[in-house]
Amino acid sequence: MTKEQAEVKQQTKRILNRFGRKRGNLVPILQKVQGKLGYLPREAMLEIAEFLGIPAIDVYSVVTFYNQFRLNPPGKHSIRVCLGTACHMKGGYITLDAWKRRLCIDRGQTTPDREFDLDIVACVGCCVMAPVSVVDDKPQGKVEPTKVDGILLSFKLKKEKQGKESQ
């Protein structure tokens, strides 16, 4: 076992201590573990299955059924493009294309430098601000291709500034 895997196991165990060994706790456990680790690695799922006394495949089936859970590590910044009805009709799919084009990744993927991950969300309920992109858990309204460039530029500037300060 690598050091990283052992670390995952440790952290999962710490979270499991707060829960009862009840199947009904599976989804809340997964949510907590993902909240801590950012995704659900294999070791964490195995640990959870053992804790609840259920086959590992049952954990895997729940993880892959729900849209919320992810199997690969997230980027530093998360981009969620809302594709609710209002957002779609106001060009959410065009915005998604713009993100894909700029980040050079498809939805569900993370950039190789692990800076950004991109995915869609069914609807965040801010339909009046359509098209919406949720950037680092903050819904931003009226995100059109030019605003995509603007958001990315602000991240770049922030990073450069931090780089300068740390020098």
């Binding site: 989804v27 809340p28 729900y66 849209n67 209002a86 609807c123 801010c126 601000m129 858990d137 819904p139």
Partner: protein, 637 residues
């Protein structure tokens, strides 16, 4: 319940309530100005948090004694961020489209000075001589607020605000009534489930009360998965206690001990506020063991859904609460007799539960006096799309679609022509102009090929392609199908492929008949509501907008100029201004360049059809146009 116990309930509650009232009075009537900022998700997306920070900084800078309160959503989402200022000597005034600069000005000039900055006013909250009030708006004639009444006027994170505005009195009243009487009252009110199906609520409660088996559960279904619907989110974020109170009363009526509030994880703010509300209610013993000293105990847990549309279906929701994948099972047995862990379980929608306190407080007759013969009370809609006043509305059942869209919603944006209204999300349908005079109730919309669903209403104009919207919904249901029933799993995929081809101009005329045949089969061969209603968007657009399907197939043309494979962007040389470079700078793929005469030309190979140049071109030139089919673009010289 024993009389002595009841007396203590009443006296305990009186104490709690009077404490809350004095707190509320101190906020509202202490001679201090009060600033309220709408900080539900919609407000935050528009920048409410920045506004709050600016206001607080300004208040601190001038050392003002002025409380700043975060409230929920008033429903005027088009004007977010919204700020309400109550200053002694003035009516409470509501300001719209407030940004940091305006916020600072309001503090400086209105609170510090005495200028109410009339240029930013949306309306006053009560009638007065100085500014027009919100109730003078034309929409006020059609609106009747019952469950949205508190939204945007109280701090959802303060139980005292809710208590001071009539909160939890219905619970105390209910605890003094025999459970059968409560169920009878709910039944007589004519309340029908607001999740979409419209099952009589009283009847559901009665079945659940009479079902054998213990413990019983109450579940609040807040898994608002319909894209384009946000009523439940707004209520949970703006007035969570009204839902909790409804749940406690339901628990008492059916004899339950535990309840769950099931909220989508995509609504983090709603989750946060419900959690706070539960904690506060427990602290005042309005929730938990021996509520207010009575012998009734009831507790509620919060459960976060993890993003599966099908979990809005009650049996799937129960499966996910049990830690299984959310796959629906056959009904009957219904959850009312055989639900969570096989026990009788009452599942009601957020809005249904929010009505309960009003029915208990004001009586069944009062509730039944609003609405139509078969659908009582009010309907809450989330208005979105190409409409001027987007936001939340609550109107009596029986109001026509035309009144909601053109009177309450103030009609279409940018003077465009109305084309259709999409109601009921992926289960509903698109209704054309000819259906606008239909009264809104559970039955008439179903007859017209749509359904009330949970209440999302997306207004579409002439720029929206009806084939594309049908394709969009099918893509959604296809992705969200749990995969259990063959017809739903494979049938929706087939339909989606056909629609994909049509929107790319590769459809065949026989496809239209095949779509309707497939649609009928999917409806017949699916177990749950997702599959049974998935073809509705296709069927309703085929019924009302068949000509658009035919234009795509026969002419390779998209009449609404939306389907990207069937359009091209083109700059009209005669209109293009030599000295202007707006489109060149805006283009995200560097597809636009100027020719020798400094006329801009689009390289069709590079163009990704994002439409940025169209919005960038200054209105005085209006040189960028969309053409369909793409062969309309003249060959470049």
């Amino acid at each position: 319940m024993k009389t002595t116990g009841l007396q203590s309930v009443v006296s305990t509650f009186r104490e709690i309530k009077s404490r809350a009232e004095s707190q509320w009075q101190e906020l509202c009537n202490s001679g201090k100005p009060v600033v309220m900022v709408g900080a539900a998700t919609c407000g935050r997306a528009a920048g409410a948090l920045g506004v709050i920070r600016a206001i607080k900084d300004e208040v601190k800078k001038h050392k003002l004694d002025c409380p700043v309160v975060e409230v929920g959503c008033m429903g005027h989402c088009y004007a977010e961020p919204i700020v309400i200022i109550s200053k002694p000597g003035y009516p409470p005034i509501c300001y719209g489209h407030v940004n940091k600069v305006i916020a600072e000005r309001l503090i400086r000039e209105f609170i510090l000075g005495d200028d109410p900055c009339l240029e930013f006013v949306l309306g006053a909250l009560e009638a007065n001589e100085l500014v027009p009030s919100l109730s003078d708006f034309p929409r006020a004639r059609f609106e009747k607020k019952i469950i949205l009444k508190n939204c945007g006027h109280i701090d959802p994170e303060q139980i005292e605000h809710y208590l001071a505005n009539g909160g939890y009195t219905a619970l105390v009243k209910a605890l003094q009534m025999p459970p059968e009487v409560i169920i009878n009252e709910v039944g007589r009110s004519g309340l029908r489930g607001r999740g979409g199906a419209g099952f009589p609520t009283g009847q559901k409660w009665e079945i659940c009360r009479n079902a054998p088996g213990r413990p019983k559960y109450v579940i609040c279904n807040g898994d608002e998965g319909d894209p384009g619907a946000f009523m439940d989110r707004a209520i949970l974020e703006s007035d969570p206690h009204s839902v909790i109170e409804g749940m406690i009363i339901a628990g008492y009526a059916i004899g339950a001990r535990y309840g769950y509030i099931y909220v989508r994880a995509e609504y983090p703010l709603a989750v946060h506020r419900v959690r706070i509300a539960l904690r506060q209610a427990r602290k005042l013993n309005l929730l938990g063991k021996n509520i207010l000293g009575s012998d009734f105990s009831f507790d509620i847990r919060l459960f976060q859904g993890s993003g599966a549309f099908v979990c809005g279906e009650e049996t799937a929701l129960i499966a996910s609460l049990e830690g299984e994948p959310g796959i629906p099972h056959h009904r009957p047995p219904y959850p009312a007799t055989d639900g969570l862990y096989g026990k009788p379980t009452l599942i009601n929608n957020v809005k249904t539960l929010a009505y309960i306190r009003h029915i208990i407080d004001n009586g069944a007759e009062w509730f039944a006096s609003t609405g139509t013969e078969e659908s009582k009370g009010t309907a809450v809609f989330a208005l979105a799309g190409k409409i001027v006043n987007t936001g939340l509305v609550e109107v009596p059942m029986g109001t026509t679609l035309r009144q909601v869209i053109f009177d309450v919603g103030s009609g279409m944006q940018n003077g465009k022509r109305f084309k259709a209204v999409q109601i009921g999300g992926p289960s509903g349908g698109c209704l054309p102009e000819s259906a606008l005079d239909l009264p809104i109730d559970f039955d008439s919309l179903t007859d017209a090929g749509a359904m009330m669903g949970s209440g999302g209403m997306i207004v579409l104009d002439e720029d929206d392609c009806m084939v594309e919207i049908a394709r969009y919904f099918l893509e959604f249901t296809q992705r969200e199908s749990c995969g259990q029933c063959t017809f739903c799993r494979l049938g929706t995929k087939q339909m989606l492929e056909v629609l994909d081809e049509i929107t790319k101009g590769q459809g065949r005329i026989e496809d239209i008949d095949m779509l309707s045949r497939l649609a009928e089969d999917i409806k017949a061969g699916s177990l749950c509501g997702l599959g049974k209603t998935a073809p509705n968007p296709v069927l309703s657009t085929l019924r009302h907008f068949r000509d658009e399907y035919e234009a795509h197939i026969k002419e390779g043309r998209c009449p609404a100029l939306m389907c990207r494979d069937l359009i091209a962007y083109y700059i009209i040389p005669e209109k293009c201004e030599r000295s202007c470079d707006a489109c060149v700078g805006s283009c995200t793929t560097e597809a636009i360049s100027a020719n020798k005469k400094r006329i801009k030309v689009i390289d069709q190979e590079k163009c990704v059809k994002c439409g940025t140049c169209l919005s960038a071109c200054p209105p005085q030139y209006n040189a960028v146009v969309r053409l369909s089919p793409p062969s309309e673009v003249p060959a470049s010289k």
